[in-house]
């Protein structure tokens, strides 16, 4: 019957692909060595010694979209790790960034196909859609190009690992941060983006479960803003009106915080006076400013920079050192509070996130 046949096909083509890849790497390595040797023969006494790289590793790094600044940060991390690995030798690591302008699953599939046609040694991709990504990823693996996912997974595909954040755990952490800030009793509200988005639902679930242990805290409403800054600002103000007793907010994403001061007068006044405590996801500079000025009590962030830095490292270990990875690689989370916000602000200013954050709750 069909399904087992297909399954069998998968395994054979998978091994075939691996063999093919190995063969190709060997051929390429031989080719490069020959070329370098030839160069050495031709150029008698070169002014500068030729690079001692015997092998080149080309990684295609594919974000969800090119129009989102957080991916720019990931790209910087990827380029930095590639430069470090190249400097350490003996492999020259090259990162090529490809992507569609806007988040679009179909467009991304085309990009992956183009990348396979161009010929790379590995792909690290953040999937626009878990299902739509399956076929392009599997095609790449069939063509002998190992693939890993980061930020957004495609669990059904043949990717060798997924580097990502545990959103459920992130939601739970947000609940703890909020309880620390507002105390054990009171009303809280949630602001989410597009209702039904998997990562956001996970955070909401984690947050809700995290509050179960605190019967004095009551979630009075959950509002959505369709990932729209303007709508986010409006609904936050509306909830501030309809729930004057509100003591806490969990912004599941950072939408309304993109707007400038003065756009949410009720929330801003309540936050300044300490009547309302807010915890939010992500750690972009705009949010860090809000936190530093006392509007926010805590932030839980993905390691955007690590999306690039760590994924290049993982691909390197997988291909060059033949290391195997579990299907899920936890990228960890940054927890930012007034205690360590300055370090994070400096990291953004210097575009260097290699230092780890100090303890968000230092013991005095």
């Amino acid at each position: 019957m069909w399904p087992p046949g297909v399954a069998e096909n998968k395994t054979t083509s998978h091994t075939e692909a691996k063999n093919k890849r190995r063969k190709r790497t060997i051929v390429r390595a031989l080719g490069t060595t020959c070329l370098i040797g030839l160069l050495g023969l031709v150029a008698c006494g070169p002014a500068t010694p030729p690079a001692r790289h015997t092998q080149r590793l080309t990684i295609a790094w594919i974000p969800k979209a090119l129009n989102n600044p957080v991916f720019e940060l990931g790209r910087a991390g990827a380029v930095q790790r590639a430069a470090e690995l190249t400097a350490a030798g003996p492999v020259e690591v090259q990162v090529l960034v490809y992507g569609s302008v806007a988040s679009d699953a179909a467009e991304q599939a085309r990009v992956v196909e183009d990348v396979i046609a161009r010929g790379v040694d590995a792909i690290a991709i953040s999937c626009n859609d878990p299902t739509a990504c399956v076929d392009p990823i599997n095609k790449a693996v069939e063509a002998g190009v190992p693939v890993m996912t980061w930020d957004s997974d495609s669990p059904e595909s043949w990717r060798f690992t997924y580097l990502g954040v545990d959103n459920y755990q992130g939601g739970k952490t947000a609940a703890q941060l909020l309880v620390r800030a507002m105390g054990l009793t009171g009303q809280v509200a949630l602001l989410t983006g597009v209702p039904g988005a998997y990562n956001l639902e996970q955070r909401v679930q984690g947050f809700t479960d995290g509050l179960v242990a605190y019967p004095g805290i009551q979630i009075v409403t959950t509002v959505a803003c369709n990932d729209d800054i303007n709508l986010g600002v409006q609904v936050v103000e509306e909830v501030m009106q309809s729930h004057p007793e509100l003591k806490g907010w969990f912004f599941v994403g950072m939408w309304p915080l993109f707007a400038e001061r003065g756009s949410m007068p009720l929330w801003e006044a309540a936050a300044r006076e300490g009547r309302v405590k807010t915890v939010a996801f992500d750690t972009l500079p705009v949010e860090l400013d809000y936190l530093k000025e006392g509007y926010l009590s805590g932030l839980i962030g993905q390691k955007y920079w690590g999306w690039g830095y760590d994924s290049v490292q993982i691909v390197y270990e997988h291909i060059i050192q033949s290391k195997t990875f579990a299907p899920f690689t936890d990228s960890g989370m940054d927890i930012v509070t007034p205690a360590n916000v300055q370090v994070m602000i400096d990291a953004w200013k210097q575009n260097d996130f290699s230092r780890s954050l100090p303890d968000p709750f230092p013991t005095p």
């Binding site: 989410t192 039904g196 009075v220 409006q234 993109f258 400038e260």
Partner: protein
């Protein structure tokens, strides 16, 4: 040849309330009024001046863009690019402000961007003889692309306070603190209403939407008229985008994504017929406000998020059905 039937006599006696019902805005005004009554009874937060002005302010940029949208629909076309033009105009204004152009000039640059987008739409539609749906669909994508390209996807922030004040400050009118965007909205509503209902140009737009051939036979420059219609739509969308940018204090290339549908819905709920030749600016204003009151009400009532979207869809259809029913009766 068939003998045309006599037009209905204008001399038949009507009760004043009959003319009232016959007015296009009546159905939607009644609907809005009942919504306001229900929300005032069910919540104690709806009928506060803060909330009402918040709702009006949130309606303002949608309404301003919808005035332009309504003009294109009345003229028998459609403009799908309004959301993208809003974002692009806001972004151009933001970039000009950051470049130190000063507030009036920067706003001028934003409006000029909308004018240019509208001009391209209009010329392609009239000279190129392309359907407005296709041309403006292309502009929807192109304008959004330019917005992304200008800033590589980054939002433009740290806008001067002189500009942000225009969107965030209020004007004291007697006892009320009226947000500036609301005043801009009302001014533009009055202006577009005057142009459409009290000028020859306005009459020609209705004529164009009712029958393009008849308008052309009457010796009117249909092509030129169409270009002006789309330029107006572009400029008004840009004005909406600039007002929204001032209110948020940030110009994001992703702003106003999908707003074309809200804007078209506001126009249609306000009694603008997709067939062309029918609709008024006051109706459009009521349509935009109704949509926001509804959305605001659903949040204040605490209806679960997932069902709010459904409720909005149902109400749009119900409001339009009610209007059609009224039109067939009157």
């Amino acid at each position: 040849m068939t003998v045309p039937t006599a037009p209905p006599s204008k001399l038949t006696f009507t009760f004043p309330w009959q003319t009232l019902i016959r007015r296009q805005e009546f159905g939607i005004a009644l609907f809005l009024f009942s919504l306001v009554i229900i929300l005032s009874l069910r919540t104690d937060t709806f009928l506060t001046s803060t909330n009402l002005f918040n709702v009006l302010r949130a309606s303002s940029w949608i309404a301003i863009a919808a005035f332009g949208e309504a003009i294109t629909i009345i003229a028998g076309g459609i403009d799908l690019s309004v959301g993208s033009v809003m974002a692009l105009a806001g972004l151009v204004t933001g970039l000009a402000l950051r470049a130190g152009w000063g507030v009036p000039l920067s706003i001028g640059a934003g409006l000029a961007t909308g004018m240019l987008a509208g001009l391209i739409n209009g010329v392609l539609i009239s000279r190129g003889r392309l359907p407005s749906f296709i041309v403006t669909l292309g502009m929807l994508s192109a304008a959004r692309g330019v917005a992304f390209g200008l800033t590589s996807g980054e939002p433009v922030r740290d806008l001067p306070t002189d500009f942000v004040r225009l969107g965030q400050n209020n004007l004291a009118l007697g006892r009320w603190e009226v947000p500036l965007p609301v005043i801009v909205m009302l001014t533009l509503a009055a202006f577009t209403w005057l142009v459409l209902s009290r000028t020859v140009f306005g009459g020609r737009i209705y004529a164009l939407g009712s029958s393009e051939t008849a308008t052309w036979r009457a010796g009117i420059n249909v092509g030129g008229l169409k270009v002006i219609v789309y330029v107006l739509s572009g400029v008004l969308a840009a004005a909406g985008g600039v007002v929204m940018t001032a209110r948020l204090g940030v110009a994001a290339p992703t702003a106003a994504g999908g707003y074309e549908l809200d804007i078209i819905a506001a126009a249609m709920v306000g009694g603008v017929s997709l067939l062309g030749g029918e609709g008024t600016m006051w109706g459009v204003l009521l349509g935009a406000v109704t949509m926001q009151v509804l959305r605001n009400g659903l949040v204040l009532l605490g209806l679960p998020t997932y069902w709010q979207v459904v409720a909005i869809g149902v109400v749009i259809i119900a409001a339009i059905a009610l209007d059609r029913w009224r039109a067939s009766r009157a």
